[in-house]
């Protein structure tokens, strides 16, 4: 009953505060849109060098944005790419087609591979194809690759901040004291916050996820319900962590100071960079952060199209984080009232 009162109050506060609603939903959407435009923008002009290629193939690749340059057969493709600005060199040897990609820009590399594959499909169907990368690798993709991380990150970020600030206000404006002078239990207050914010973030998460998938056209192989489940679990850990850390902030500004300390590092460990390339001194931090699991699960579903059997461990860990934070919150409120 008292939990319900807190839930209703939080939802009413949201309804009265259109700006915060806008911040939590519109801001992630704008940033995601901008990033998608930055990374999936107009295709660049590509230059492909060809060696010993049949004219039929050259005609097929030679399209808008692609300039094909015939090269002598005695050159070394690697040196050519290093010295001149070829994005790829296509060579034929004993009926086998080799592509050497410059490879530092994954979206470009994929574009080239697709173009060449398309043209060889229609013509030299049986030609074996080998692809090599000078720099980078085939596994690198751009927005599709870190899109899921970004979706998770923005939800985490805004929920953390708003929940933290609103609990902090409860303390600074004196309503926490008034609540603790009433028969509400500490756990009822915390649960009220979890459910109230939980309901709101479910709506927020679905809007952001729907937008990312259907408007920005983020790669989406798996089921939308899983994406929603993951983002809600991630938001839950963000809100319980936000409330917990608000106990250590004296004002809104101090809450914001947690961003570089708590939020930004999580972003690095969430798989934006390959964890194996992060120094061993730091990489152990990754598994201690909720976003690490949220991003992993989102990627499993959105990129790899995997289902519950792959993400349940991540969900369980996220649930564990939230549970621990909730218990710590109930405990932290002891500072204000023992019972």
């Amino acid at each position: 009953m008292r939990v319900l009162a807190v839930v209703i109050r939080i939802l009413k506060q949201f309804l009265h505060d259109k700006r915060t609603i806008a911040l939590m939903i519109v801001a992630p959407i704008i940033v995601l849109t901008m990033l998608s435009l930055v990374f999936n923008g107009e295709e660049l002009e590509v230059e492909i060098g060809v060696i010993d290629a049949p004219t039929s193939v050259i005609d097929m690749i030679d399209q808008e944005n692609v300039s094909v340059i015939k090269l002598d057969s005695d050159i070394n493709p690697e040196d050519r790419i290093k010295e001149e600005n070829y994005d790829a060199i296509l060579s034929f040897e004993e009926g086998k087609m080799n592509i050497l990609l410059e490879g530092s820009d994954p979206s470009l590399s994929n574009g080239i591979i697709n173009t060449i594959k398309q043209s060889s499909n229609t013509d030299t169907k049986s030609t074996p194809l080998s692809i090599e990368y000078l720099y980078g690798s085939q596994d690198m993709t751009t927005f599709d690759h870190f899109g899921p991380v970004l979706v998770g990150f923005f939800i985490f970020f805004f929920v953390f901040l708003i929940a933290g600030v609103s609990f902090l206000r409860e303390r600074t404006q004196g309503t926490l004291e008034r609540l603790l002078a009433s028969p509400i239990k500490r756990s009822e207050l915390v649960m009220g916050y979890v459910i109230g914010f939980g309901l709101f973030t479910t709506i927020q998460s679905s809007i952001i996820a729907l937008y990312s998938i259907y408007v920005i056209d983020l790669k989406m192989e798996g089921s939308f319900m899983y994406v929603l489940l993951i983002t809600v679990m991630l938001a839950l850990s963000a809100l319980t962590l936000g409330i917990l850390l608000s106990a250590f902030a004296k004002n809104e500004l101090q809450m914001i100071q947690f961003i570089p300390l708590v939020i930004v590092p999580q972003f690095f460990f969430a798989g934006l960079f390959n964890l194996e390339t992060i120094s061993d001194y730091l990489s152990w931090l990754g598994p201690l952060t909720p976003l690490y699991y949220g991003a992993d699960a989102l990627r499993d579903v959105m990129i790899r199209g995997q289902g519950f059997s792959e993400i349940w461990v991540d969900l369980l860990v996220l649930g564990g984080f939230s549970f621990v934070f909730i218990v710590m919150n109930v405990f932290a409120l002891k500072k204000h009232r023992r019972i």
Partner: protein
């Protein structure tokens, strides 16, 4: 066993600083107990101990012979803090409805109670206004209304009438007197001398000590002063 509603014998320290030294009071049903004392003397600290928000470093507070803090006892107390504890983005009505359900006011009685207390503080026309649009005095009155909402047997009010005009203040004190006659215990801190005169008993706090207590007349007699203000000053307030 005593018949006293509240029995307290407490000391309170914040860190090394002693804020209350060995303060002992017992308060009864149907009285208005006023706490007077200079700023920083420890009045707020004392009333917070009485209603169980804070706990004493030494000693204890008992309400109805039971040790505080206790959730069942807290239910019977209405507390109004020195700062208005209100949700600014909500309307007055939403604030009242929230605290009514937190304090267990029955759903069927809620509407009637809200009307009643808002009438008392002369805010019945501002129910649907947001608190952020309230003046200082209006916020104070709403805060008081919330403390009265669940008809507590014990009211602990920390400077309830600051920023409220004399006519309305008089009306509010008439309400306090009606409540007292019905058996409610009211503990009130104040800096206003005419309010002190209307208390059944007064406690003088200075530097964390209760240096005198008694009815207004007793205190005047003791110091040979003609008004409470003079009595207050002669206690070094």
């Amino acid at each position: 066993m005593t018949t006293n509603l509240i029995e307290a014998h407490v000391s309170k320290r914040f860190g090394k600083k002693t804020v209350l030294k060995d303060v002992a009071i017992s308060l009864n049903k149907g009285e208005i107990f006023g706490l007077l004392g200079p700023s920083g003397s420890g009045k707020t600290t004392l009333v917070k101990l009485l209603c169980g928000i804070d706990e004493p470093s030494e000693g204890e507070v008992t309400v109805l012979n039971q040790k505080m803090p206790d959730l069942a006892l807290i239910k019977r107390i209405g507390y109004m803090a020195q700062a208005d504890a209100l949700y600014h983005e909500l309307t007055a009505k939403e604030n009242l409805a929230f605290f009514a359900s937190i304090n267990g006011v029955k759903r069927t009685k809620r509407k009637e109670r809200i009307q009643h207390v808002m009438k008392l503080v002369d805010l019945e026309d501002d129910l649907n206004k947001r608190v952020e649009a309230f003046s200082g005095g209006m916020k104070r009155r709403l805060s008081l209304a919330i403390a009265l909402l669940h008809e507590p047997e014990i009211l602990v009010l920390d400077e309830p009438t600051v920023g409220i005009d004399p006519a309305l203040r008089n009306k509010i004190w008439e309400t306090f007197e009606t409540l007292r006659e019905s058996g409610v215990l009211i503990v009130v801190t104040t800096h206003v001398m005419d309010e002190a005169e209307r208390c059944s008993r007064l406690g003088m706090v200075r530097d964390g000590q209760l240096i005198a207590s008694g009815t207004p007349d007793e205190l005047k007699q003791e110091t040979g002063a003609s008004t409470i203000e003079h009595a207050f000053l002669s206690y070094g307030g």
